[in-house]
């Protein structure tokens, strides 16, 4: 068919084809969105259900069932209990606080150590024994392969003799180790994107290498550091394996609390749902507001 003869039939066919592809794309997008959202929706609504609602399979609040605070009361958070003293709430808040402290400290430590190392590796020539820059980078990145289970039992024994078992510091050290390779990976990519001329100018103007790092490079690399920090935060907040092995009562984090509840109580749906919701909500909020940084962090290094 020649392009000169623009008949209506051909145009209509192109238009139907375009509409078909639109419909297919949006159908796929919405399907996957439902797959992603339904478990979260289910958990949050279940935390407001009562036993009959769960058994009847009611789904939509205010229509199928009327929301109740029963689930949240079991962790001491509800309009009725909020003013009163509640031991369950204290327990929950303690775990929450442990998770917060451990995740934030470990991420901070990892970002500090990792940024310094990444900057050094992207700017200077090192030679430690036989190791050159690329070997040192590989040494750091290769830690990603190390499965946690290899370190878990030795650390259990070591921490026991160091009296670090069931302490937040012990967890912070391990979590820092766990996320350090990822931080170095992201930050190396960031620093490589910053032109060396900037620092050369700073050096000419009389700053030292540390001065130029702090005053010139750091402000430029800050978004990358935030990305690395948030990604580390997510990983540390969700970590379960080390926390389950190395903590018992004092330093237990939120995932361990959630896991222990599933094991012991059979199906106490509303309270489990409330606890799970409380455990995931902080990160859901982080995802919604800081999505840009998370994506930036994960995309770093993937694309050259």
């Amino acid at each position: 068919m020649s392009a000169v003869m623009k008949d209506h039939e051909g145009e209509a066919r192109i238009r139907t084809k375009w509409w078909a592809s639109r419909v297919a794309i949006y159908a796929a997008l919405i399907t996957w969105a439902i797959i992603c959202l339904f478990p979260i929706f289910w958990t949050i609504t279940t935390s407001f259900k009562l036993a009959p609602d769960v058994m009847k399979g009611n789904l939509i609040p205010w229509w199928d069932f009327s929301p109740r605070w029963k689930g949240w009361e079991s962790i001491g958070i509800s309009p009725r209990l909020i003013g009163e003293v509640s031991t369950v709430r204290e327990e929950f808040l303690k775990r929450f606080w442990n998770s917060t402290v451990v995740a934030i400290s470990a991420s901070l430590l990892a970002v500090i150590l990792g940024s310094l190392a990444a900057y050094g590796l992207s700017r200077f020539n090192y030679r430690f024994g036989f190791m050159r820059n690329s070997d040192i980078s590989f040494f750091f990145l290769s830690q990603m392969i190390l499965p946690p289970v290899v370190l878990a039992l030795p650390f259990l024994v070591l921490y026991k003799s160091l009296a670090l078992l069931d302490s937040r510091i012990g967890l912070i050290l391990l979590y820092t180790l766990m996320v350090l390779p990822i931080v170095i990976w992201i930050m190396r990519d960031q620093f490589q994107g910053i032109p060396v001329e900037l620092e050369e100018a700073a050096l000419v103007d009389g700053l030292g290498i540390w001065g130029s790092f702090f005053q010139i490079v750091l402000p430029i690399a800050l978004p990358g550091m935030v990305a690395a920090f948030i990604l580390s935060l997510v990983l540390c907040w969700n970590e379960y394996f080390f926390a389950a092995l190395l903590t018992a009562t004092n330093a237990t984090t939120l995932p361990v609390m959630v896991a222990s509840q599933t094991g012991s109580q059979g199906i106490n749906w509303w309270s489990m749902a409330a606890l799970s919701s409380a455990a995931i909500l902080p990160l859901v909020i982080v995802a919604i507001f800081l999505e840009k940084y998370i994506i930036k962090g994960m995309a770093a290094g993937a694309v050259k």
Binding site: G114, I145, N238
Partner: protein, 368 residues
């Protein structure tokens, strides 16, 4: 994972470091090292009963070690001047990793050849190759390794889905940001919460919504009864959490593609499928391989979901190596045997990942 040769910052420095300054730096390092070693020996003798008094725990030795690490860092600047300031960028991270990985690994190597039950007061009893023999005859360990092969193979399906989603997000669509956030959400959730949310409640046989749907369709729901289905369910849950991870890497790759090339292929009359097969996919190969390799590395650590949903059952069909060792320790608190299994796993992983990297390295770098 490219190397960092090339664009380096060159500094010219002339340092005049006096002998006394140099001596001070060396003294600091050796003094702190001696203190640390001395304390360690003393504590060791106290624990074996050769010295009457000592510390309750090894904490003081740890403090001495940290002091030594600080002295080593400070001494870099004191002894080497400007060159030391450069070393100081990498040294803290290197010391941190070495002390937290290399020492425990060496220690692990020792305990993996002992019979050590943490509950018993005897302490480690070296038992030669006994653990190795036990491992050789341990059907459950080999079974767990076999399961790991299945789990790793599942990455290929995850990759296809993730690539599809990345293409969708890269298409001309409205509300792109909304879909991106929604698609990212599963990655934010802790595997433990996911194992309750999906594994224990949505897949619950009586009241779970998925069970209801299946019953509506006229089947009898059973998700963790038969080995194959149980394994598939674990794979699905793990995929649900980690598909966004690959999706985002692939999306970043798609967005970095040169748009002229794709437009040129359209001008040349390529259909959607042709331009994907002939242009987009080959250009995406480096990103794809990176994403898949990293995903496989994460997959090899899979444990949380299994521990919390099936604890390895039915009959070890869903066990990963990590979850198996976790239970081995939890049930029998046998540190020695568990560590040996972990060490063997580490060796296997290192071999596997090295071969994998060798195999795919030619696709990882885009030809210039």
């Amino acid at each position: 994972m490219s190397t960092t040769e090339g664009d380096l910052l060159h500094t010219v420095t002339a340092d005049n470091i006096s002998d006394s300054r140099r001596r001070l730096g060396k003294m600091m390092v050796w003094g702190a090292a001696a203190l640390c070693a001395g304390l360690a020996i003393w504590q060791m003798m106290f624990e074996t009963g050769r010295v009457a008094s000592g510390f309750e725990t090894w904490r003081p030795v740890l403090y001495a070690y940290v002091l030594w690490a600080f002295c080593l860092c400070a001494a870099q600047v004191i002894v080497n001047g400007e060159k030391g300031k450069r070393t100081l960028f990498v040294l803290p991270a290197a010391l941190f990793v070495i002390s937290l990985v290399v020492f425990p690994l060496l220690f692990a190597l020792y305990i993996s050849f002992t019979d050590w039950n943490l509950a018993s007061p005897n302490g480690p009893q070296p038992n030669g190759w006994d653990n190795m023999v036990q491992m050789w005859n341990d059907g459950f360990y080999w079974n767990a390794l076999k399961n790991m092969v299945y789990y790793v193979l599942a990455v290929s399906v995850e990759y296809v889905i993730a690539f599809g989603l990345a293409l969708l997000l890269n298409a001309q669509i409205r509300a792109r940001k909304f879909f991106r956030v929604v698609f990212l959400l599963p990655l934010m959730l802790s595997p433990v919460a996911v194992s309750w949310m999906i594994g224990k409640s949505m897949l619950e046989v009586r009241f779970g919504p998925i069970s209801r749907v299946i019953r509506e369709l006229g089947f009898e729901p059973s998700f963790f009864g038969s080995p194959e289905i149980a394994r598939f369910m674990i794979m699905a849950m793990d995929a649900w959490t980690f598909i966004p991870f690959m999706m985002i890497m692939l999306l970043a790759g798609l967005q970095a593609l040169p748009s002229e090339v794709i437009e040129a292929s359209k001008v040349d009359g390529a259909s959607g499928w042709q331009s994907f097969k002939e242009v987009i996919f080959p250009l995406m190969l480096p990103v794809s391989v990176t994403a898949v390799v990293i995903r496989i590395i994460f997959k090899l650590k899979l444990a949380d979901v299994i521990i919390n949903v099936t604890s390895g059952g039915p009959g070890g069909a869903t066990d990963s190596v990590t979850s198996f060792i976790f239970r081995e320790y939890r049930d029998r608190s046998n540190v020695g045997y568990g560590t040996l299994l972990a060490m063997v796993y580490l060796v296997l992983i290192v071999i596997f990942v090295t071969l994998l990297l060798k195999l795919v390295s030619r696709w990882m770098e885009r030809p210039a």
